[in-house]
């Protein structure tokens, strides 16, 4: 217990007490007072994180913590629904294993890039599994000439995979340059636009030749005000970016309606030829049958919400679902677990998970579509992405399915 107690004290200022020392309601009172209660038999602590999900994430990151999750109300996914999902996934694996590639721009599918039915897609020496899954690894398109904005914590401009590259940058954070000190932005920008030939090894950028625009809207602590995010979107629209990737958001409640401010922003962006692609959020604990609704701003009807899937084509356990009406649906899915991409020096690369990682896969594929047909802007691009996605299962979890590069998915 002493290791956990020390970690909780240092990280959250919590005092850890032994559960066996309490009886009945006294335990609840101790929790209310901000203490952590330790159950020796289960090697488990119960805490009441006063700062909510952000504090929960911080606890998850502690070395002595295997998993931190909220207590929650359970509701069941029906057995029929579960079996349907498994059936669809198994069928898709079979199709992917044997189907000929479709479309004029598809290059021959290489055996090394194929998945064996029922087994996960894995990174190869050449490509990440995400690039293989969305078809970028087999596409001749690279996003050349297409402007894509990544609004995040900035980028490490001196990273060996980005140094010397022409990148349009702007910081919307007072007294901070676009240089990324947190790492999230370098990872998401890497997934969109990492180079065709990486200095580190396998390719991880979906659209390596896009005209990359990086707007810093989250500070070096990973925090951002809505005003700064809106300024970043405004800048990206003014720059005529076809795609705006936003791996950010906040949780929403069941029944919560979309924010009218973001809704207006998304609608204007679409009218002006920019699609805003946003992470659906990570507040589900599907291993325990808890599904959280799509977060904001992804829950706006005019903003394209991206869920995360794993290498077995299943929904990621944390990925939010389309529970709320009036726009709170998932639109599409992207690779969102075991995602290898760039991070700032000296670490250079890191494997991360989250809808934040799925979102830039979709943004990169969207750029490939614009390169294939420059008329695909705004709503037309939205429709094309949905119509060409590879169906994976129920729309609550996957939306229209896994995003696909031109020529790789169903024709429309």
């Amino acid at each position: 217990m002493s290791t956990v107690a020390g970690a909780l004290k240092n990280a959250a200022g919590m005092k850890t007490l032994e559960a066996r020392d309490f009886k009945g309601a006294a335990l609840e009172s101790a929790l209310d007072e901000g203490n952590a209660i330790y159950f020796e038999r289960f090697k488990m602590c119960v805490v009441d994180p006063k700062e909510g999900m952000s504090q929960l994430a911080m606890l998850s990151a502690l070395e002595s913590v295997q998993q931190a999750r909220p207590e929650f109300y359970m509701f069941a996914i029906s057995e029929a629904e579960r079996r349907y999902n498994e059936w669809v996934r198994a069928g898709l694996m079979l199709l992917a294993d044997g189907a000929p590639s479709m479309g004029a721009q598809a290059l021959p599918v290489r055996a090394a890039e194929m998945t064996v039915a029922g087994t996960p897609i894995a990174d190869t020496n050449e490509f990440t599994w995400g690039l293989i899954a969305v078809g970028a690894s087999r596409s001749s398109l690279t996003g050349r000439g297409v402007k894509v904005a990544v609004l995040d914590t900035g980028i490490d401009l001196q990273h060996p995979d980005f140094v010397g590259r022409s990148i349009v940058t702007e910081s919307f954070i007072p007294n901070e340059t676009v240089q990324d000190k947190q790492g999230h932005g370098t990872h998401t920008a890497g997934t969109v636009a990492g180079p065709a030939t990486s200095t580190m090894g396998r390719r991880y950028g979906v659209a390596p030749d896009v005209d990359l625009h990086v707007g810093k809207v989250l500070n070096n602590q990973g925090t951002g005000r809505e005003a700064e995010i809106i300024n970043g979107i405004n800048w990206a629209i003014d720059k005529k970016c076809a795609v705006i990737s936003m791996s950010l958001g906040r949780p929403t409640a069941v029944g919560e309606k979309p924010d009218p401010f973001y809704e207006e922003v998304g609608a204007v962006a679409l009218r002006e030829g920019s699609i805003i692609v946003a992470a659906a959020g990570n507040n589900s604990f599907r291993d325990f049958n808890h599904i959280a609704p799509v977060g904001a701003p992804a829950n706006s009807p005019s903003i394209f919400a991206v869920a995360a899937i794993d290498p077995k084509m299943g929904v990621a356990p944390f990925s939010c679902g389309g529970l709320n009406p009036d726009g709170g649906e998932v639109n599409i899915s992207g690779p969102g677990t075991l995602v290898y991409s760039s991070v700032p020096r000296p670490e250079l690369s890191k494997v991360l998970q989250g809808t934040s990682m799925a979102c830039p896969h979709v943004a990169g594929v969207a750029a490939l579509w614009v390169q294939s047909d420059p008329a695909l802007r705004g709503q037309a691009l939205w429709n094309k992405l949905e119509r060409t996605a590879r169906e994976l299962g129920i729309r609550r979890d996957f939306g229209r399915g896994l995003v696909q590069a031109p020529g790789m998915g169903p024709t429309s």
Partner: protein, 78 residues
């Protein structure tokens, strides 16, 4: 001091600067005016919120929100 966001009715979007002046007169310290998104942002006393709602041409008044990323850790969904 709370940060407010104001969505302006479409009928007033062309003279959003004039509406911003009206909100200033009510006590809002206007930080930004965005005609493209029909939005005005600023700060003021908490008691100002109800007053802003009553101004002709104001569609929605809300509090400016923020987002926070989790620690950049492979165990934590991002």
């Amino acid at each position: 001091m709370p940060e407010f966001k104001i969505l302006v009715e479409k009928s007033r979007s062309d003279d959003i600067e004039a509406l911003a002046d009206e909100l200033r007169a009510k006590g809002l310290r206007v930080g930004s005016v965005n005609p493209k998104f029909r939005q005005i942002r600023g700060s003021g006393d908490a008691s100002l919120e109800a007053e802003l709602r009553d101004v002709d041409g104001v569609e929605v008044v809300g509090r400016d929100d923020s987002v926070q990323l989790p620690p950049l850790d492979e165990k934590v969904p991002q």
